[in-house]
Every structure is written in structure tokens, then in C-alpha cells.
Symmetry: C2
Subunit: 273 residues, 2 copies
């Protein structure tokens, strides 16, 4: 299976260099020759929305996605409305930042009823969709690892994300595939193929053995057990030609100087992805 020969599709998801501001991350990408950046709303808010958009544009970078919309479920109608409103703001931000992908984290349930939460996710996406389409922003349903089912996302398999996207059958609803969240799934290759035409993003990092922490225990590509190249090539074979975001939650990586992280990231991207 052929490796990448350059960084043309590489994106730095900003969380990987968590200590860096938007300014620092943009400059870091330019120095390292990384053409895409995935931005986080909190970081963008700190730097200013229009200022962030200008920095990225002036640097010649493209924004692969904005993290994160979603978090739809809530115990009260008022809170659910507030979250929909927040997602509308996220859509506006994505449009201003010049990306057409808003990543949705779909959950968690507000009570123990995971089935009801799943149904509500679909309702929330239906409500947001006209606004997203108007702004030219696609809603990317990202299944998270099942270990986050109680605290982060009730959508935990690509099969389910695909089903939802298929039911909408709308150019502005698709799926985001993160290798870390889906590598364990015995159906993953079939589901990647089934996602053809709806893949809005592909994220990579690695599953460390042992996993030091459920949230902060993700690894640099090549340091774990995920068959990253096989997954990436399956995603490509399903017609995806977009950016490959490196998104790593890991304290040790966050504590490493950003330029070193980017250099290692490029090397491992070429070697492993």
C-alpha cells in the first residue's frame, strides 16, 4: 500500500498543539509546510473570530474543519434551544473561517435513555440543516469511541453515523471518520465503503498499549496498534480526497515544543498513514 510522498493533504488539528494560540499554530504550520489547519472554537474565540480568519487566509492555509458543534442533548427545552443556538453560531464561525465542515460531537444523553438521545440527535441535525446549507457549511457526524458513550457521544459507530447521514440524503450532512474512534469495529471497512460520497473528514492518531488515560491517552501515529495506512487507503478508496487531520489528546505531546511535534507528525504521517 502506497505511502504519501508529501504533506499535501496533511492538516494540523489545533488540539494537537494545545498550548499554541491560533497565531502560533498558523505560524507553526507555515514553518513546517503543513497546508491545512483544523481549528477549535475556544481557540478562535481567544484570538478573535475575524482576526483568526484573516491570519489563516494571509498565511495561505486552508481550514479543514471547525471543532466542535453538537452536544445537543439537555434536560430542559430551554437548554436544548440554547445548544441549537450555539450550533448556529458555530455554523456562522465555520463560514467566516472559510471551512465547509463543522464537526459534530453527538451527545451525551441527558439521562440514562441512550435511545431517546440518539433520536434527538437526528432531530437537532434536522433543525440545523437549513441554516448550515445556507452558510455552505456541512455537518460532519463523527462517531466517537464507545468508551465515550456516557460522557461525550451517543453516536459510537460509523454504521450509525452512516444511517443518519443516509436518511438525510442531503449534500450538507456527512460523516467524519477518526481512526482512533473506529479502528476496533469489525464492520469498519464495510462501513467506510458505505460512507462513499459522504466522508467529510478523516482524522488520525494512534491507540497506545497500554492506554494511559481514556481522554488524554491518544498517541502519535506509529506509537500504537491502529492499522492507519489500511484505514486511510480504505477512506481514499471510498472516494475521499480531502485533508487528513492529526488530532491528538496527549499531555506529553502538549508539553512538547510545537515545532518538534509538527516535525514528528510529518515524519509519522509519511511513514504510517
Amino acid at each position: 500500500m502506497a505511502a504519501f510522498t508529501d504533506s499535501a493533504r496533511l492538516s494540523l488539528n489545533q488540539i494537537t498543539t494545545q498550548r499554541w494560540s491560533v497565531r502560533e499554530a498558523v505560524d507553526g504550520c507555515v514553518r513546517a509546510g503543513i497546508p491545512y489547519i483544523g481549528l477549535w472554537r475556544e481557540k478562535v474565540a481567544e484570538a478573535g473570530l475575524r482576526e483568526s480568519a484573516r491570519m489563516v487566509r494571509d498565511a495561505g492555509l486552508r481550514v479543514s474543519s471547525l471543532c466542535r458543534g453538537g452536544w445537543f442533548c439537555a434536560a430542559t427545552a430551554a437548554e436544548r434551544q440554547a445548544r441549537l443556538d450555539d450550533n448556529r453560531r458555530a455554523i456562522e464561525e465555520a463560514a467566516i473561517l472559510g471551512t465547509d465542515v463543522l464537526v459534530l460531537v453527538c451527545g451525551p444523553a441527558a439521562d440514562r435513555d441512550i435511545g431517546a438521545a440518539r433520536a434527538y440527535i437526528e432531530e437537532a441535525i434536522a433543525r440545523l440543516l437549513p441554516y448550515a446549507a445556507e452558510h455552505g457549511v456541512k455537518l460532519g457526524i463523527e462517531p466517537l469511541h464507545p468508551m465515550y458513550a456516557a460522557e461525550r457521544s451517543v453516536i459510537v459507530t460509523l454504521a450509525e453515523a452512516n444511517q443518519i447521514a443516509r436518511r438525510f440524503a442531503h449534500s450538507h450532512v456527512g460523516v467524519v471518520i477518526d481512526a482512533y474512534h473506529v479502528w476496533w469495529d469489525p464492520e469498519i471497512y464495510a462501513q467506510i465503503a458505505a460512507a462513499r460520497g459522504r466522508i467529510l473528514g478523516f482524522h488520525v492518531c494512534d491507540w497506545l498499549v497500554p492506554t494511559p488515560d481514556m481522554l488524554m491517552g491518544r498517541g502519535m501515529m506509529g506509537d500504537g496498534v491502529i492499522e492507519l495506512r489500511r484505514l486511510r487507503q480504505a477512506v481514499d478508496a471510498a472516494g475521499y480526497t480531502g485533508p487528513v487531520e492529526v488530532e491528538i489528546f496527549n499531555r506529553a505531546i502538549w508539553d512538547t515544543p510545537g515545532d518538534e511535534v509538527l516535525a514528528l507528525m510529518i515524519r509519522r504521517y509519511l511513514e504510517c498513514v
Copy 2:
């Protein structure tokens, strides 16, 4: 949905009272009026196999299952053979202890090839099956939570366990359903129904929020978010009438006096399961 009105189907999986020996666990079950016990091979080895069998029998308890066979995958042919041999010993032990269920933990992969590991699991079960059937012991494929895919089990969904069991179509291959491992699965109720006739065990505990630890962070029933009664009734509706094992890996529970754990366990079993 109707609660249980007595402990007639309750089983103490021995790991829940990890500090207790077989003797102590047997006596504890008798004091608490718990009719079943799920034994662990390590504990049985400490107490002596035939001595353990006698203790359980003399106390009038029934053994719901023996934990654990499996762990089939290995890097070398010699080691794979050693593991099959060890599983044959586990089958003998199960027969001597008077249980007809050996729980299989199916993994992890010896390398990064999870697909090959899955195929080998099936091969290993095929090799063991005649010996198991001869001894009247059923092999229970237990899907573990996907967060254990790299370190414990490559079988991580009930769909996959069902598929394997269905392919064998043999009275001595079935599935063990542990609520902790499968509650997140959007297909779980369909897959429980599909497991009809092949359900060899049902285990319960709870998913804590936040989860304090990937291995030792399981909770007492009622302390977490799993819809235990709904799952139990689905398992019953699929024709299962056997014991319900309480299996909890949790340091705080292990550090609590066993009689207190059993009293709480019975209360929560009646309230939540």
C-alpha cells in the same frame, strides 16, 4: 418492567469480592442466600480444584460459569499450542467444578492485525469444541467493550459473537452477554434477540460517570448509566432463564468487607436489574 422479587437467579462472580478465597466466597454466598457463584481459575487453583468443587457442592451452590478461557492469540505456533492446551485444562476444570459454561476472552491480537486475530479466534474455538462437548462444557464467547480491543479481546460486539456462534451452529458454542461491555451498542437489542438459544450467561455491573479507570472503574448496579433492567428483560425475552452474574472490577468495592458488598449487591439487583 417487572423487577425480580427474589435472588433465585443471582450469582456472585468471584472477582466482585476479589479479596475472598473460594472458601470465603462460598460461605459468603450461603450467608447471603445467593444460590450461584461464578468462579475464577486463579482462585480455584489457590484453593485446589477438587477441594473447590467439594466446597461449592457441599454448600449447595451452583457454579454459573468458570472465568476464563480464551486468550488464544500468540506470536508463535508453540505459544498458540500452549494456550489451546491451557484451554483444555480450563474445560476439564469447568467439568469438575460442575459448571457447563467456560467464559472465553477472545484476544488480544499478537500483532496489529486485528482481522487475522479474529479469524484465529474462530479456528481456536473449532479446535477446542470437540473436547468441550465431550466434557459437557459450553464455550461462551463474551464480547468485551471496544476499549479493550487492543489489550484483551478482539471480539467487541455481540453481533460478531453471534455470527461466530451461528457459524458453528453447535449446542456447545454460545455467547455471554455482559451489560458493561455491550450497553453502548446501537444494535444491542436486535443482537440480544438474535442470540436466542445461544445465550450462556448474563453479567451485570454499571458504567460510572466519570469512569475512574478503564479496567478497575466498573460500578455497582444503580451507580451508573446502564439501562440494566431493560437489558435483562431483553435477555429474558430472548429465552434466557439462567443466572445473572454480578461481576465488578472496582478497587473500592474490593476494599469493602465482602458481606457488605453482597448485601448491597442483592439490594441493587432487586432494585435495578
